[in-house]
């Protein structure tokens, strides 16, 4: 298409640098010994080692069950060529943030994440995960005052073992799928959040994931439990260096919302997408699921996916509690040779459960973008309602958009609505903007931004700005 479109869609990845830091890295390969090594390294209790080993067993048994139904095409992954543990060598035991390796602080600064509490936006607490371990968590004291637990997964296992044991795997069981099983066996770190009964978390919680080491996979695990009547908004961001080899990222995220609790989970995913010819980039194979266990609970997923070579991801909601609510707001942008197969599952079990799906796919270059969603209404889900809207925007004529909405309605009383559109960024729209003095590049940004508006407005402010910049756009709706 136009030159401006090319320029915009061919922008260089900004976060491709590598941090030169001494790391403890396990040689490539995966066997039971590696699982035991990771568990021992983290000084884990017996129950967790047993849990991991069971997962490993499941994974081995699934050897040939790596999912093939998604509309993505990538070379077979050699799981023996990946290192399953890599951590920056601590210079000494950390007492406070002041003692975090300056190289690491620097890395996060370059990424626009300040771990310095004084300089940080007042209302966001950050957990920084670097390859396999969490390197820093901010605002812990402040959160402790409210009884909120926000720490690295490893710390949670040490300090709050009973809570972890109670909820780990309760939403995504070890054998759920191939990648979840792999993650359950070798996960290294991640974030843990517990919001006590009736507490409204006073700040945004966020985890910033960074892959740095070569030939390693990142297998983090996030577990968020919102006890009755509580509320939390959680943000997740990710980047990785630019490398010629593909790297595997197989995370698991579990959310539990008890009665009247609400979890808002936002992701801005910007893993290295590979170069213009499709060389390198992250394979982003992620299992995200939330359970609305209690009545009137609510889980809301918002994602802006602009990175990764291949994305395979379906943040889902199991609506068990009566009157519970699930939401999925997604922007997926694929450019160059990127492929995304993403969507959601809304499983309606409780009465009068409600779900909303808004999916915006943007394809540019030779990018392929697939929406895959399931809305399932079980026989008991009387009065259930779903509204789905899937819109695709094509930039150029070598890219593709595909939509696969699946419906399983087993209750006649349910209301299910689905709308889908596919449009091309129009010459008319571009020309209209240009005729008003707006450059073609800004016009494209503006139109794409407008297309994504329903999703972007769901993001917390700090992230909305980042997401809009990511989409190459200026801030829309500053007025009005």
């Amino acid at each position: 298409m136009s030159e401006a479109l090319e320029r915009i869609t061919k922008q260089e990845y900004q976060y491709g640098f590598v941090t030169d830091i001494e790391q403890d890295t396990l040689p490539p390969g995966l066997d039971e010994g590696v699982v035991r090594f990771i568990s021992a390294k983290k000084e884990e209790p017996e129950w967790l080692l047993a849990w991991r080993l069971k997962a490993y067993e499941r994974w081995v048994a699934m050897k040939d069950d790596s999912p093939t139904w998604a509309m993505v095409d990538y070379p077979e992954i050699d799981y023996q060529a990946i290192s399953y543990y890599s951590a920056p060598k601590p210079k000494k035991q950390l007492e406070s943030l002041d003692e975090v390796d300056p190289d690491l602080l620097d890395t996060y600064k370059k990424l626009g994440i300040s771990l310095d509490e004084q300089k940080r936006l007042q209302n966001v607490a950050v957990d920084a995960v670097f390859d396999s371990v969490s390197v820093a968590t901010t605002f812990k004291k402040e959160l402790n005052k409210h009884g909120i637990i926000f720490c690295s997964f490893s710390e949670a296992v040490r300090e709050h073992g009973d809570l972890v044991q109670k909820w780990l795997g309760s939403v995504v069981p070890q054998g759920d799928n191939y990648f979840a099983a792999l993650n359950s066996a070798v996960f290294s770190d991640g974030s843990f959040v517990y919001i006590p009964k009736g507490v409204r978390c006073p700040m945004e919680l966020s985890t910033y994931f960074r892959i740095n080491a070569e030939n390693t996979g990142q297998f983090e695990r996030t577990l968020i439990v919102a006890d009755e009547g509580s509320y939390v908004s959680y943000l997740e961001g990710c980047t990785a260096p630019q490398r010629d080899e593909n790297q595997l990222h197989a995370a698991v995220v579990e959310l539990v919302a008890l009665g009247d609790a609400e979890i808002k989970y936002s992701t801005v995913q910007n893993w290295y997408p590979g170069d213009a010819d499709g060389k390198g980039g992250i394979f982003n194979f992620v299992t995200k699921r939330g359970a609305c266990r209690g009545a009137r609970s609510k889980i809301s997923w918002t994602q802006v996916e602009t990175g990764s070579a291949v994305t395979w991801k379906y943040p889902s909601c199991i609506l068990q509690g009566d009157d519970s609510v699930g939401e999925f707001y997604s922007v997926a942008l694929t450019n160059n040779c990127q492929q995304a197969d993403t969507g959601t599952k809304m499983i309606h079990i409780g009465k009068n459960t409600k779900s909303t799906i808004i999916s915006k796919g943007i394809s540019a270059g030779r990018g392929q973008n697939t929406y895959r969603g399931l809305v399932k209404i079980s026989p008991k889900a009387t009065g259930a309602r779903n509204y789905s809207q899937c819109d695709s925007l094509l930039l150029g004529d070598q890219c593709g958009a595909h939509t696969f909405p699946y419906l399983e309605v087993k209750n006649d009383d349910a209301t299910v609505e689905h709308e889908a559109t596919t449009s091309k960024i129009g010459e008319d729209q571009l020309f209209y903007c240009q005729q008003r003095g707006i450059s073609e590049e800004d016009a494209i940004s503006m139109i794409v931004n407008g297309f994504c508006k329903e999703v972007l407005r769901e993001l917390p402010m700090e992230f909305a700005v980042e997401a809009q910049n990511l989409l190459g756009v200026s801030l829309e709706g500053a007025v009005g």
Partner: protein, 250 residues
């Protein structure tokens, strides 16, 4: 202001403009009339730089510059404004934000400071009075779900905000009710200054009662086949185009 010589243009594989000449002085209002499909919108498109129209011959000088060398946004920044016959919808982009971006782009080009949200709001409120537009339309997506008349009014509002030196109105009157027509015309008249020119494309004499043209041209078969004063419009209203175009093709 504007000097068009022997302009030829094609779109979709057909030659549409076939040697068009037109000269406009500063401060002048010119009306272009002509049968459907005669090339009026194509002329507006060529002047504003729509990429789907290909210029195959002739020249256009605007303020002494070769207009055809400029990109559409450069032309806009240099003061060429087109009120579209069919204004375009841009879902999800607020009308307010769109206009502010446009004005700031133009101001940047002129080396003027950028207006922030508050300044712009103040300015646009002033201009809205002129076209009697409902402020609610500012917070909706650009032209999305606007009625035909609202779209046209929105074009006039943008013109008032951008204050162009050459305004081209492509059938801005069609679809407007009688009151709206008067309001739109007043918007145009308010813009008139000795250094600004207006090209009005219309089918109806009625608009020209409000925006009184200095010259009226008849476009047929891709050329200006007759030019005259404002009386020519009255004559056309009475007799139609046949008496001119028949002569032209003969």
């Amino acid at each position: 202001m504007l000097e068009i010589n022997g302009l030829r243009a094609r779109a979709g594989g057909t030659d549409i403009l076939q040697g068009l000449d037109l000269t406009m002085g500063p401060g002048e209002v010119h009306a272009v009339m002509g049968p459907n499909g005669s090339g009026k919108s194509t002329l507006a498109n060529v002047l504003s730089g729509r990429p789907s129209v290909e210029v195959t011959g002739g020249s256009v000088l605007y303020k002494g510059k070769n207009l055809l060398d400029l990109s559409p946004e450069e032309r806009a920044c240099e003061g060429v404004f087109l009120a579209f016959q069919y204004p375009v919808e841009i879902p999800g982009v607020s009308n307010m934000y769109f206009m502010k971006s446009a004005l700031n782009a133009v101001r940047k080009h002129r080396g003027e400071s950028q207006l922030d949200a508050m300044d712009f709001l103040q300015l646009v409120r002033e201009k809205m009075k002129l076209v009697e537009m409902d402020e609610a339309l500012m917070n909706r997506s650009v032209n999305e779900g606007f009625s035909g008349g609202e779209k046209k009014r929105n074009e006039i509002l943008q013109m008032a905000v951008l204050e162009p030196s050459l305004a081209i109105l492509d059938e801005t009157d069609s679809g407007l009710d009688i009151d709206a027509l008067r309001i739109a015309a007043e918007g145009v008249n308010a813009l008139r200054r000795p250094d600004r020119s207006v090209l009005v494309i219309t089918h109806y004499q009625r608009l020209l009662d409000y925006i009184v043209p200095d010259y009226v041209h008849v476009l047929a078969g891709g050329r200006i086949v007759r030019s005259g004063g404002k009386d020519l419009a009255l004559e056309l209203e009475e007799k139609g185009y046949g008496w001119i175009t028949d002569g032209a093709s003969a």
